[in-house]
């Protein structure tokens, strides 16, 4: 495994060390005895994150959306573990994080697209990194870049540190309430950690509450179906196929209808363009 350390931006103040960096998750960091500025900042950020979930995210998810969880007891209650879910909406991560007890929250991290969320100085970037606690992963990098910089390292480090990772193998939010083909990244990750359980989850309804391309969410109910945890089976292609099949089975349990009169992709584009 190539050892890479993403260099901190030249000239940044040390308080920004809480920004994602590979070292943040190394055990050596966790073992530091005296509290430096970075640690203190990270404690404050952790408290902010807890408050953010307690005061804003959970009430919004429970009251404005409304959540029905089937077989919640199958969710992992300790790390390291991986939760694999379908992805239709920005709400997915907030809903999944709300399923875990607050005490576990510091351990639960969602893997997200670095190009979308990890802008250094944007508000969205700050919220995503610190309050939501995403682990940014570079997608769409060239094969050469991937050989030089292991794209899965931040996720692997988090797993090694005992985190519960949320991964969306579809790679993007895609079409509302439709399951896209899974990408292979999660198989590469599980191959490195064959002991880690992988729990399939299907989220139903969030693609209607806040689909890709819409500015605002609307209050609609959401169902969460949790499947039995899976283990590494020794083969990447077979593993992804199995995972895809499991999530697909859970998808059939959903009660909520998809879009009415959903036109073809071309028509959809026409409607969206007309609306601009």
């Amino acid at each position: 495994m190539p050892q890479i350390v993403v260099p901190a931006k030249a000239g940044t103040h040390s308080s920004s060390a809480a920004h994602w960096r590979a070292e943040t998750w190394t055990p050596a960091f966790a073992g530091a005895t005296s509290l430096g500025l970075a640690e203190r900042t990270s404690i404050i950020v952790q408290i902010l994150r807890l408050l953010f979930f307690l005061m804003i995210v959970r009430p919004a998810v429970l009251f404005l959306l409304g959540l029905y969880v089937k077989r919640e007891e199958l969710l992992p209650r300790q790390g390291p573990a991986i939760v694999v879910a379908n992805h239709n909406s920005h709400l997915d991560t907030l809903v999944l994080l709300s399923l875990f007890p607050l005490g576990l929250l510091p351990k639960v991290r969602a893997v997200a697209a670095a190009d979308y969320f990890a802008g250094e100085d944007t508000t969205l970037g700050w919220i995503a990194k610190h309050l939501i606690g995403i682990i940014p992963i570079r997608r769409n990098a060239s094969a050469l870049e991937n050989m030089r910089h292991d794209p899965l390292k931040p996720a692997a480090d988090a797993l090694a540190d005992g985190s519960i990772l949320i991964i969306y193998p579809e790679g993007t939010r895609g079409t509302a309430e439709k399951l896209a083909k899974f990408k292979n990244g999660v198989a590469y990750l599980v191959e490195r950690f064959p002991e880690v359980p992988v729990t399939p989850v299907y989220l139903c309804g969030l693609g209607k509450a806040w689909p890709k391309g819409e500015r605002w969410p609307v209050p609609l109910l959401c169902e969460v179906f949790v499947g039995a945890p899976m283990r590494w089976c020794g083969d990447r292609i077979a593993f992804i196929a199995k995972l895809e099949q499991r999530v697909g089975e859970l998808a059939k349990l959903g009660d909520f209808p998809g879009w009415d009169f959903e036109p073809s992709a071309a028509d959809n584009k026409r409607v969206l363009e007309r609306r601009k």
Binding site: G66, Y68, V218, P219, D255, P257, D260, F261, E262
Partner: protein
């Protein structure tokens, strides 16, 4: 701010009666469990637990003040509308229209809170009806337009307009009760308790009579578990209870209370099977799992969506 101390003794007795009933129900279930432990009472226990919770929140909202009670009912409308919009097929193009549906809730309850009857009665059936196509026209998706406008407005009528009638009973003016004992400053609260308690007890009575004596199916294509025995038994019980409670708790006299009891019994049944038909059409058993043992909010208030308008208009015409 109104406190329990300035509620009339009748009203407090009525509230006490609700919880008395719940205590009795809980004891009966405990006795059943002891007598026949081999049977499964999970749903019954869950149901009763949910009843306790609903009664507690409803009472608390009524006791705080009128605004709290209106907010509570507004939230019930919101939860019911959200359930409805989640289970029906909607068009992607109509997401913005859904915003306006939700927005109609605070507006409609505002008309209630200022007691503007004319606006309250016309806002959803006329102005929302006329307004809702507008955002759809601007978005410009015509495929499925008729179905969308029909389903969305029907949902708004049932979950917001109908339910807000229950809220409007709070605004009815103070009057002595029919037997002339108390001049209750909170006639509205008494009327609302009367409406809600009778409607819910009618549901329970129809269910229990049906379970005990049900033989002849009444409407098998829509709701196979409903029987003539349950329906008639429920209506009879509700009529009797209404005749007993009405003149004592509210300004409704004996004759009107008996007629209202029968009306509420029948209307409650129709509301119940209407939502059943909706669920059957959509292939669902419950509208959600919001209330353990009951199903969704819409499952719980289905009969109220029919009884509330009938009750309000009957009382306004005949009892004032």
């Amino acid at each position: 701010m109104r406190g329990w101390f300035d509620l009339s003794p009748t009203l407090l007795t009525a509230l006490g009666g609700i919880f008395g009933l719940l205590v009795v129900a809980s004891f009966i279930i405990a006795a059943l469990k002891r007598a026949r432990p081999e049977r499964d009472y999970t749903e019954l226990v869950q149901r009763t637990k949910s009843w306790w919770l609903m009664a507690a929140i409803f009472t608390a909202a009524l006791l705080v003040n009128r605004v709290a009670a209106l907010v509570f009912l507004g939230i019930v409308s919101f939860l019911a509308l959200k359930e409805y919009l989640s289970i029906i097929p909607t068009r992607r193009a109509d997401r913005r229209v859904l915003f306006f549906l939700y927005l109609a809730i605070p507006i409609q309850y505002y008309w209630v809170s200022i007691g503007w009857y004319g606006m309250f009665i016309i806002f959803v059936p006329v102005y929302m009806l006329l307004f809702l196509p507008l955002p759809m026209l601007i978005i410009g998706e015509t495929q499925g337009f008729l179905r969308a406008i029909g389903t969305l407005h029907w949902g708004l009528m049932v979950t917001v307009f109908s339910l807000s009638h229950a809220a409007y009973t709070l605004m009815l003016p103070a009057a002595p009760n029919a037997i002339g004992e108390w001049r209750d400053p909170h006639t509205g609260a008494a009327l609302m308790i009367y409406l809600v308690v009778l409607t819910q007890l009618n549901d329970v009575a129809q269910y229990v009579w049906g379970k005990l004596f049900g033989r002849h199916k009444i409407i098998p294509a829509v709701s196979p578990n409903k029987t003539w025995e349950g329906f008639l038994g429920g209506v009879l019980m509700t009529t009797a209870l209404s005749a007993t409670l009405g003149p004592w708790l509210t300004p409704i006299d004996l004759r009107n209370a008996a007629i209202l009891g029968a009306l509420l019994g029948v209307a409650g049944f129709v509301g119940d099977v209407t939502v059943s038909a909706l669920k059957r059409d959509l292939g669902l058993k419950d509208t959600s799992q919001f209330l353990p043992g009951h199903g969704g909010v819409l499952d719980r208030v289905d009969s109220l969506t029919y009884t509330a308008p009938l009750f309000l208009h009957y009382v306004r015409y005949f009892c004032y």
